[in-house]
Amino acid sequence: MDQSQFRLVIPSQTRYLNLVTGLAKRASLVAGLDDATAAKVSIAVDEAVTNVIIHAYGGEGEHSVELELRFTAEALEIHIWHSGRGIRGDQMVLPDPKEYIKHPRKGGLGLLLMSRFMDEVQFKADEVSGRNECCLIKKIS
């Protein structure tokens, strides 16, 4: 399978979010996705990296977040690795939008956006390295 990829490592600081989302948007266009879909991918990446910085690392800025973008003929894959607190796939509880609207509150929407805007969202833990991964996949139609 033809595949190309590259990696980016950023400090776990929200000031770099716009850099990452800009990259994700441009990468989506390079992968062949349209403008609207590229915008959605960039939002999903924003949410995933924000979760790492705020929740996995508790807002501590001295850690690192590693992103790898993989381009294949079938999909754009964005892998996000960190060494903070992980989440397992079975812990991913998505809020019900209808209930959310009835009872507005802060928080809880990031995972929902990620799942709605991407074709696949996977959370994995590597027990050997101790790192956690969030994988976002957008298929090229």
């Binding site: 929200t14 939008p97 956006l113 709605r116």
Partner: protein, 118 residues
């Protein structure tokens, strides 16, 4: 250019808030403070004109969600206008267009806010 700048002007009973730039976890506190400042001053009818807002993440949605009940309890509301396509997509995907009144432009939103007061 700053990541996010916020301008506010008063049009009759409506406070018009104009965020310019993007709202994410890095800039959301400025946006939140802009909204909270209006509520503290008793300006409960707020129109967020999004014409210069290029991007909003769930952090920004949370800031709006956090105040919607307060303003409505005081007889006000939060209205939205001039949403760019990608910003509209976020609101629409989550079903929030049912929770907020969304208008094509500011004049329409101001007219609707005025009718509601009458």
């Amino acid at each position: 250019m700053a990541d996010l700048s916020i301008a506010v002007r008063q049009v009759g009973d409506v406070a018009v808030l104009l965020p310019a730039g993007f709202i994410n976890a890095h800039t959301v506190r400025d946006f939140e403070e802009g909204l909270e400042d209006l509520v503290e001053k008793g300006r409960y009818t707020i129109l967020i004109n999004c014409k210069d807002l290029s991007y909003i993440s769930s952090a920004g949605l949370g800031a709006i969600m956090g105040l919607i009940e307060t303003v409505r309890e005081h007889g006000g509301d939060i209205l939205l206008s001039n949403l760019q396509d990608n910003v509209f997509a976020i609101f629409d995907t989550l079903g929030f267009t049912q929770l907020y009144r969304v208008f094509t432009d500011e004049d329409q939103a101001l007219a609707a806010a005025s009718e509601r007061k009458d």
